[in-house]
Symmetry: D2
Subunit: 341 residues, 4 copies
């Protein structure tokens, strides 16, 4: 940790910081510079002390700012756990050599709709069926999902098709019922910092997809993963789904694909991409899916609807089954080109 | 609602959109342009149909994009409710002529700390005591608040000093217990789109401060207010607390003060400003507080700690009691200059 | 063009807008809605009138906002010119079936450095040699390029290796001298809206790479291309190089790869990607290059330095020759997988 | 300067960095931490070495990232020049106790228009007349200004009314002619990093208003000021005019008012605010002007047009003379409330 003093800091202020650090049993080094003095802490600082120590030091007189050298997360870091984590969900391995495709409708609307979608995406090669029962919607006046009825349909169609299932949980008190109906939980972008929900899912051992919030930094995202891991759940898959865009004329969000190599370097957790929510229109989903696989993503989360024009939710971003099948053929070629299955 | 067709849209595609609109009992107008055709809907569209109709039309063949002319929110709009809403909390009127100051520590740490803070801010002229019992924290390793113990201290100190109290609720299942201990609820920035929480608070009639999310547009923020209003709670106060910044070298967020006149034009709800979280350092709090009052804010939410250096949470952004008292004197002059009390 | 009136607009205000439109010889349609009235213009509006008409109408009493249905650019649009533009630079075709690689050092430092870089990138398969003689630098205290001396070295090394050459022009009065020494001009991100420079380059017929500004929207970028095209230069190649990021902890910018399919849909111009400036560190250049090709980019602009540790400019983002050769092998496989050469 | 090593950095890599620092005659301190080692440079580093040294060290093997403790600018810093700079333009003192108002039309359209605007703003209390002769416009099809003819009108009207004049220079080769016609130069937001222009204006001793670029960080802005100062021109006034917004539904940009206290702390240069370009609509200009003065701005740059509806440029954001006069009365009260004239 580095404490940069203000240019006009007095000797007493500098000594005050040195003393505070020493009082915590840490070794302080004085580094006078041209205009400013910096003070370095030359000792290991436990992760659980880092945030509070940063804040405490930043408030001392004469301090300009404090920079952490080690990261505030630990269990999510590759430094702590060098080997790649592979999340195995009933035989579907996410984070291994093969790229895994998770596909299905934004919202579960009926047995017919979900079954048609599941059969189509399975035939095209998808391994995981996604479908929303609880839908977070910006407006209170839009379709909010079928709830428990939707969960039951998901379980039924998952069993009928032999697919692994994924659905969102929005409320910590729904964690048990969602776990009972789906193989994979999803924590949505708007809930990335819903800490009671993170704690509740962290206390289970159920695999979970953690989406990045629309203005979350990489460190904030990994700290949310740390909530899950620190409560004992290490079955965590990270999902980038687009960050707040410069403008929304053509895309809903900006897909930050560089998050794939960045997070792969910092963390051992698998990273998947949701191109559908990122771009918000089916037109650009195929190009972004190919790019995600080429960038090294471990999987894709793609919206497919048997009849997008009639979808009750996010219809414009869903692919039709034919387009999805054609995309899957493309993706197999790109995956092979980058040494993935 | 305006449907812009793609440049190469066929006559059949244009007719398809016209027919779909007509089938819903709405009047469609064909507007051929230089390169593109637009189709206008010349009928009233109920608010609850707007989002889903936008999505449905956007998915039709030949459609480039769909623009809503009327807003997706209704109860929050000044068009629906032209007069200013004044939220009266035990005699403290927020949204009226006087600017209301809400002050206190980020987190409740002890009876001594909270009482000292309350006495100091009351003496300086603050009417509402703020203090967090449940703290949303980016890292799982930082102080998460005293919970129920903190709520009890807030109630006790509120009664002892005769101040109105404000605290955050993070979990819909805590709404009742928080209501029992505090006069004003706060929904934090990270929970602005926690829809189960919005619904739970919307079902009460308890006054609530709804913070804007760090990358929320004005419309998304007003739609979250619409969740509260549409479930029956019209005691809603909006709070701008900074949006995601260009960089974090000097401030934690960028305070979007233009939100004050923009929201005042669109909505009848009171708007308050939290300069402490916006800038993230006490150094800029006074300047931004003065600016907020000059811009027309109905109130301020300011962090004050009896000893910021020892604070367990967000110490660097808290004012000391002396600085706060001096700021309150400034604010009285600025408020008078703009015709406010 | 659609004029949305405010909710409380009077009949006289609505008529005022209708009259103003009619006075310009355009046909106005009145579209009353639930809360607001919209007025549509059902006539072709010449591109050169669109911006000023939008501004004029937005200023009329009772008007809430004005939306253009057709785009403000014309020559750059695919609607005007449906077929892909291929820019042929001495036999190197940019925008055709093959993906073109442009590589070399950020700044030209010496004959030895440039020649070593050129030989290395040519051997690996690059067709265009890039190298900066005039360097835009954020700080006045950093290396600003060799200027004319650098241009001469570029010409010499280009001829010696038989490579097509690319370099940046920062000043409209340097356009001639840069044209005399390089096959391709580059207008940098910080000059995307340097209008005198755009006009000067637009008056030539020299091929030019136009980089997107760090906070430019797609429409602003295409309008800058329109400056070039409207002055007669249709040898324009667009280059995405990253937009302003959420934070700079790990990458300098956020590469907006969705710009590739978006711009390919809107415009006939070739689109290339500069992953080096986007991410700002060599670690992520390979992943982003593969992704760019998979997304459909027509080319890449990659920094390669024979000895990045000793580079005078942007060393951390340059690849070493060995890494570049290995990347080129990867790119050939990805290009083949997406049907490109 | 602090060099953070990667977690797995070897002893040889750490020694390599230490040796490189020592070879430059600087003192390196080794600071082992829990997961990473940091190396501090405990010597003064001349400003002109900072950027290049940062880049060189960042490229060494085993280095994770490099942080500067002192800033990269020097002449612009308050550390170098503690007292406030006051720019005196023919008796109008910018940066002193009084808040200075600069007002007038976006573009000079005719003698009548400019004279009417000048007389109106002077009568209301403005001291500086602004008006554009060379207009940077996003679209090539919009009015680009009257050029030299406009400059002559500005000089004439300035002399007729006894006002100080301000106008934009877009091309380094126009600096002389603009200086001959106007008292104050303006470098626009889109030219903040037009380095040839900065150098040309830096070589004069003419007062200049330097606008912040739409996605420029505070440090980038101060480094552009450093270009001016390091070439000898210390008559520099900084102008915040809004940064790229979250969305453009209601405002063109987001006014970053916290830039006022931040820059006042970092630099001795005066800071003025342009609320008109920031919000892009006259509706919010008054509120933001009052807020700017309350935040401590040294001046305002406000668009006023005798007849905004007929303006050839940016009409929607211009105030009418009556509204401006009323605003000036408000501003006098707010200025008095914060101890300014």
């Amino acid at each position: 940790m580095i404490i940069a003093m203000k240019a006009g800091a007095t000797a007493a202020e500098i000594q005050g910081v040195m003393d505070r650090v020493a009082a915590l049993g840490l070794r302080a080094l004085n580094m006078p510079g041209g205009e400013r003095t910096a003070i370095g802490i030359a000792s290991a600082i436990p992760p659980e002390m880092r945030e509070s120590l940063t804040e405490a030091l930043a408030a001392l007189p004469g301090v300009a700012h404090v920079t952490q050298v080690s990261r505030a997360y630990k269990l999510a870091s590759r430094e702590f756990h060098p080997a790649d984590t592979v999340v195995d969900v009933r035989g579907v391995r996410i984070g291994g050599r093969a790229v895994v495709t998770m596909a299905g409708p934004c919202a579960i609307e009926s047995r017919e709709q979900l079954l048609a979608a599941a059969q189509a995406v399975k035939a095209a090669g998808a391994q995981v069926l996604r479908g929303g029962a609880f839908k977070p919607r910006t407006s209170p006046y839009t379709f909010q999902g079928l709830g428990l009825e939707g969960l039951k349909l998901l379980k039924e169609v998952g069993e009928a098709t032999g697919m692994v299932t994924l659905t969102e949980v929005m409320d910590q008190h729904d964690v048990e019922v969602v776990m009972a109906h789906a193989d994979l939980l999803q924590i949505g972008a708007r809930n990335m910092q819903n800490f009671p929900l993170l704690v509740a899912v962290g206390k289970t051992r159920h695999p979970v997809v953690l989406k990045r919030g629309p203005s979350a930094t990489i460190d904030e995202w990994l700290l949310s993963a740390e909530y899950l891991l620190s409560h004992g759940n290490n079955q965590v898959i990270l999902c980038e789904r687009g960050v707040h865009p410069l403008d929304r004329t053509y895309t809903r969000n900006t897909l930050d694909l560089s998050a794939v190599p960045v997070v792969k370097g910092l963390s051992h957790l698998p990273v998947v991409i949701d191109p559908s929510h990122a771009v918000g229109t089916w037109r650009y989903v195929a190009a972004m899916s190919r790019a995600a696989v080429a960038a090294g993503a471990d999987g894709l989360l793609i919206e497919v609807h048997p009849c997008p024009k009639e979808a009750l939710c996010d219809g414009p971003q869903a692919l039709e089954p034919d387009s999805f099948a054609s995309l899957m053929a493309d993706l197999r070629r790109v995956a092979a080109a980058v040494g993935r299955g």
